[in-house]
């Protein structure tokens, strides 16, 4: 008998009809002789509705109260799902994050899962029940408070729960068929990826693929839980993320993101400790700095460029303006007009010349490269925003379609 954790996202439980469709998948899995644990998100746009209610009342909602408010969304879904399954003749029980023993750090709105005790989950499974767990939320032991996990929190709940329960697979049901070699809305020839390694998926998620959040992939990798991503509304097989894949393509995918901003600090002293002075305050305020490039210019001065999420732009400015002054830098430049395209593939490790071929390909299309950063299995180029679609298409054609 297999133990399967399934996660249904907001669109998969947006209304009674969708919820019934999701339930039929759960029932099918159960009737095939599996033990099933289900993690649910809030219904459709419910979380946004709750956020809007809060914003009507205050510009800066107390994070602890915001967690109290938002955690109700998944609780609605879980109880509706449990009562529907029960009504269909399948014993089920819903559990909140704290009832399921999802222990987190205390940081409201961005809590991290520390441990899953899961006693009541196991009890439910042993009694033959489908156990429905509210995603996105947990409980901090010291403060005795309800917490939420931030963006992608329900996926993280599902994968962490699968790890804690030693499940055979964590199935993520969503409104897309799986992970594609590029965004299929832009690249018409994009293909569904059947299998991909955790490392590649991590790089894809970190560089723009929105299907899975990096934190969920990282959980899967750390505890070696296979993650299957597929659509609630189709019978397709989807994408499996795991440690080894059968056929390793040289390049698995081309990703892009235009949700970043490029910052450049001009003319700061080129001496040890400067980078720390710039990046420590940013990390302390939770800014997720991505690509970092430093050039030494004349007169022992250097320019430091990096990218950060667009929605953290004003935070970065507030932090860096005094830093530039303190370092006697020449200025801070902000470029919102950028995008990033990345090639991801484990095959890069053994195949040389991928980077230069990427630069040539972009060059032939007259696409200027602003910044470059690489990892062992990824090459990213920052380009002007207006060039992103063209870059994506030509890279997909050159590196994926030819194979």
């Amino acid at each position: 008998m297999k133990l399967i954790v399934q996660k249904y996202g907001g669109t998969s439980v947006a209304n009674a009809e969708a919820l019934k469709k999701a339930a039929s998948k759960i029932i099918k899995t159960k009737e095939e002789g599996n033990q099933v644990v289900v993690v649910v998100s809030a219904m459709g746009s419910r979380t946004d509705e709750l956020i809007n209610l809060a914003i009507e009342l205050t510009d800066s909602p107390e994070p602890r109260e915001m967690d109290m408010l938002l955690s109700t969304g998944e609780r609605e879904t879980m109880s509706l799902m449990a009562m529907y399954l029960k009504n269909q003749g399948h014993d089920a029980i819903s559990l909140t994050g704290s009832q399921a023993g999802i222990i987190t750090t205390s940081k409201h709105g961005q809590a991290e899962i520390e441990e899953i005790t899961g006693d009541r989950v196991r009890e439910g499974i042993e009694n033959g029940k489908v156990v429905i767990v509210a995603g996105f939320q947990g409980f901090n032991r010291d403060t005795r408070e309800i917490t939420t996990l931030g963006r992608g929190g329900s996926d993280a709940t599902a994968v962490a729960l699968a790890a804690a329960l030693n499940a055979d697979v964590c199935e993520i049901y969503t409104d897309v068929e799986g992970v594609f070699t590029a965004d299929p809305r832009i690249v018409k020839n994009a293909k569904l990826i059947k299998e991909i390694t955790y490392e590649e998926m991590l790089e894809m998620a970190s560089s723009g693929a929105k299907v899975l959040m990096p934190r969920s992939v990282e959980f899967g990798r750390r505890y070696n839980v296979p993650i299957k991503v597929s659509s609630t509304f189709m019978e397709e097989e989807g994408t499996v993320v795991k440690d080894k894949v059968m056929e390793q393509a040289i390049i698995s995918g081309v990703t892009h993101t235009d949700q970043e901003v490029k910052f450049t600090l001009f003319g700061v002293p080129d001496q040890p400790g400067i980078a720390a002075k710039v990046f420590r305050p940013l990390s302390e305020k939770g800014v997720s700095v991505d690509m970092i490039v430093q050039n030494v210019s004349k007169e022992n001065k250097s320019d430091i460029s990096f990218t950060a999420p667009h929605d953290q732009m004003s935070t970065v400015q507030e932090i860096l303006n005094p830093v530039v002054k303190e370092l006697r830098g020449e200025g801070l430049d902000i470029d919102e007009n950028i995008a990033r395209v990345s090639l991801i593939g484990a095959g890069m490790k053994s195949e040389s010349g991928i980077a230069s071929k990427m630069f040539e390909t972009l060059g032939e299309e007259k696409i200027n490269i602003n910044m470059i950063s690489t990892s062992p299995i990824r090459i990213s180029c920052v380009v002007d925003k207006k060039n992103v679609e063209k870059a994506l298409k030509v890279l997909h054609k050159t590196f994926i379609e030819v194979n």
Copy 2:
């Protein structure tokens, strides 16, 4: 320094505007130097929306899951209220029923409050915070489950919390100005009652006055907590329910209800134990039987009549049909076409002739009386539904307006 418990009902927190209005009352009370604990209901029609979601999925929702679902409504309100107060510069914290230590029986949907530990409520008060508690919900220790208290549950939460905290007063804010001598929508001359005793309020609530539920009044009486009922939207003083009042009117109010049905069992044996056979199964199924009248007819047979809530009509039928057969009774009659009018007043205890004056008054208006029942401070007459307005007006004129 006084400790005041305030309760805001659904209409008082229906939207951002109403919630701000309620918050201004809370802030005013706090700024006058009081400690404030607030109990909130779900916003407007939120509970009905949640019930409708459940009914879309199943005709018979699992009670445990229904409580999980419905308990989210008050949690939304409490966190919104807490974040708004905080934003207005008044430290506040929201607590769920279980966080507030509201320990109940295990009966889902109709749980009774057994105990309020209230540690976190006291902690909040001592730290100078306004403590916002989710109404209508609690926690059962044995099952470790969230429960809801059924109709009027948020009022019960507020009064029980006031009792547990030894509060000076429990203020119930609602969409009416207080308790009136009769329903002001029918009797134009109805007056606001400034003070009324627990006993009278219990009788009024049990016989049709909808402002307070009997269970809340009973809590107030048992622990001697004064309850003040007034409108969120007006500055009027409202009605205070307490143990002794300054000026005791002979008749405090005239109430009515048309939400009841009259059942009559004809020709059942007139012997000991028969009434128990009829009423025990009803009480076991939670039917709240009200007026009971028994007449002995010829041949040692008797007729038993009683009233019960309209929404329990089919339950009563299902229970009594076999009972009538078992007792070899002659039949079961159901009259939906009835209403009940009642006179309530502590002064009745010392004033004779009230009952006969009531019967005369109705008789002069050609209103036939179907059933009569009395308590030391109440006289109720069941009349045809079509006569209820006329009865109410003439009784109010005779017993209240003349004084």
